[in-house]
């Protein structure tokens, strides 16, 4: 089918699109470019991998990256399971009030969520003998990732014929088997997409994490922020470029899965 349109508009529209994307991504391109610069200043002196080498040799960065990875994995698994079941519940029995209050966590400013979580932990710690650490960060990440998972999985569930579960029950499957063998396979691409999104959101988070992290649980964004505050350091460029590429591909995979 021929798409409707006006011929002379094609070229100006293409230029407009390029400009819009440049506006969005030029800063990242410049950052990535300078991560390969030999100089530590924003004057090009030649291609070099010196900052990447420095990044990989930085013990503090390595520990932080490891922490971020552990936190993101645990938070993703927990948030994906809880969020998927939550979306399934809303699908079976719609509840605008409950769904709405869940989405509240998306519109609450991060700093408010962070402070309230910190206050909550401090209150809880009066009864339990625990301190801020990896576990508090993981819990915080689970709590704010759930809403993202619910939104993505709900969108997928809306495309599923509710009568399929009835058919499964009718053929002798119990409620769990109906979910396991019929609904879950149908929404699996959405669940994986949701998990990738939760992983990204968890790995990226700075504001909430910095409020609830302990001394042993500094994450990568926290360390990058600390390095950047001490002055210009192209190691930050290198590590940022790596993160952008890594998560860019995760998001691409996630989008692909949402379409299947």
């Amino acid at each position: 089918m021929k798409k409707p349109g006006v011929k002379w508009l094609a070229a100006p529209l293409a230029i407009y699109a390029v400009l819009a994307y440049l506006f969005l991504h030029l800063p990242l391109l410049i950052l990535s470019g300078f991560s390969f610069n030999e100089s530590r200043f924003t004057v090009w002196q030649g291609f070099s991998l010196v900052w990447y080498r420095a990044a990989f040799q930085n013990q503090q960065l390595k520990e932080a990256a490891w922490n971020s990875l552990i936190i993101a994995i645990f938070a993703t698994v927990a948030a994906t399971i809880i969020g998927t079941l939550c979306a399934y519940g809303f699908w079976k029995r719609s509840s605008p009030v409950l769904a709405g209050s869940l989405y509240m966590s998306l519109v609450t400013p991060e700093i408010v969520s962070g402070i309230s979580l910190l206050a909550f932990y401090q209150w809880i710690f009066r009864f339990l003998r625990v301190q801020l650490g990896m576990h508090t960060v993981i819990l915080a990440h689970v709590s704010f990732s759930i809403a993202y998972v619910v939104i993505v999985v709900m969108a997928r569930l809306r495309t599923v014929d509710a009568q399929l579960e009835e058919a499964a029950l009718d053929l002798g499957a119990n409620e769990w088997e109906a979910f396991r063998y019929v609904t879950l396979p149908a929404i699996l691409p959405g669940v994986i997409a949701a998990a990738l999104l939760a992983f990204t959101v968890s790995f990226d988070d700075y504001v909430i994490t910095s409020m609830v992290a302990g001394v042993d649980s500094e994450t990568l964004p926290m360390v990058i922020y600390a390095i950047a505050r001490r002055g210009v350091n192209p190691v930050v460029n290198a590590i940022s470029a790596l993160i952008v590429m890594g998560f860019g591909s995760l998001i691409l995979i996630s989008e692909r899965l949402r379409e299947t």
């Binding site: 009835e166 029950l169 009718d170 499957a173």
Partner: protein
């Protein structure tokens, strides 16, 4: 006849209305029983209560004499063919049909699937996905998926309505054949009176949540107990409070047969329908009637004066 399914005084209330009101019904073993009625008459709700998707507000459902209305759908030996088939899109034909057998951990699964595929003439399509099948084939997969479980009652919720009209008649014949071959009791829900009349051993007509009348197709067509049943099963000419079917209504230019009730009328229109002719005539006394006459007999033109008559035996009367 031995009953396999008994509904006793079943009612279903929803917050705003009563969908089914005091329905009692016995379905015999091996019978092809239809529930016929317009949309919203409660026939599908009745079917869903038998399947276990809805709980009756009051009343009892018995299968083989045992009460089942408190059991989950997967605890009842009945199975449903859904209106839109509800095939599992991520499973092949083979896997769709195996689904129930696997949940029940039954033996000889491959052999039973092969037999049922043969029965519904789908051999060779085992590894297709539902999206790769035609509408008629999907319908047969849905049927096979339920039949393979050998249910005490097979519930069919308007299974032909999603097919195009040409295919519908052919599938109707196949359905009847399969029911005869397997001897499985069919409870068939439809709003199409031709379907119900041609397929059923017995049928029940529902309206407004109530079961109006139960009987054989002949019973209901020739001896309807209410005006609703009479008009739902076919055209009726209402003359002076009695009903006469168009095929029992006669139009002649000459005098009526002896013993017939006769009225003078004027032809309004004559419509050629291929296998017969519908003659519409306005009687001098008022109402307009339709007579179904043979195309081999007399022909009529607009404005002609005729006699409309019928035999008193053919009158439909109501209490």
């Amino acid at each position: 006849m031995e009953s396999v399914l008994e509904l006793e005084d079943i009612s279903k209330d929803y917050p705003a209305h009563r969908a089914v009101n005091a329905v009692s019904l016995d379905v015999g073993r091996g019978e092809f029983f239809s529930l016929l009625g317009p949309s919203g008459c409660g026939k599908t709700t009745t079917l869903r209560m038998v399947a276990g998707f809805e709980d009756p507000t009051t009343g009892q459902i018995r299968l083989n004499g045992a009460r089942i209305h408190h059991l989950k759908p997967y605890q009842r030996n009945v199975s449903t063919v859904f209106q839109n088939y509800a095939l599992f899109p991520h499973l092949t034909v083979q896997q769709n049909i195996e689904f129930g057998l696997r949940r029940r951990a039954e033996n000889h699964i491959d052999q039973r699937v092969r037999q049922v595929l043969e029965l519904v003439q789908l051999t060779g399509k085992e590894s297709r996905y539902p999206s790769q099948l035609s509408g008629g084939e999907r319908q047969r997969v849905a049927l096979a998926r339920s039949l393979v479980l050998e249910p005490d009652v097979l519930l069919l919720d308007e299974p032909l309505s999603a097919l195009d009209p040409n295919l519908r008649k052919q599938v109707r014949a196949e359905l009847k054949n399969i029911q005869r071959q397997t001897g499985i009791t069919f409870l068939f829900v439809t709003h199409d009176q031709e379907e119900a009349l041609s397929l059923s051993d017995r049928l029940g007509v529902m309206s407004g949540g109530e079961l109006q009348q139960v009987g054989t197709p002949e019973d209901l067509y020739l001896r309807p107990r209410t005006r609703f049943v009479a008009s739902f099963l076919g055209l009726v000419n209402w003359i002076d409070g009695v009903g006469v079917r168009p095929e029992a209504t006669r139009v002649t230019k000459g005098p009526a047969e002896t013993g017939a009730r006769s009225m003078p009328a004027r032809v309004v229109q004559s419509t050629f329908l291929g296998n017969c002719v519908h003659v519409e005539a306005r009687m001098d006394a008022g109402p307009t009637v339709v007579a179904e006459v043979s195309r081999l007999g007399e022909s009529f033109s607009e404005g002609e004066t005729v006699d409309v008559w019928w035999q008193p035996d053919d009158e439909l009367t109501f209490e």
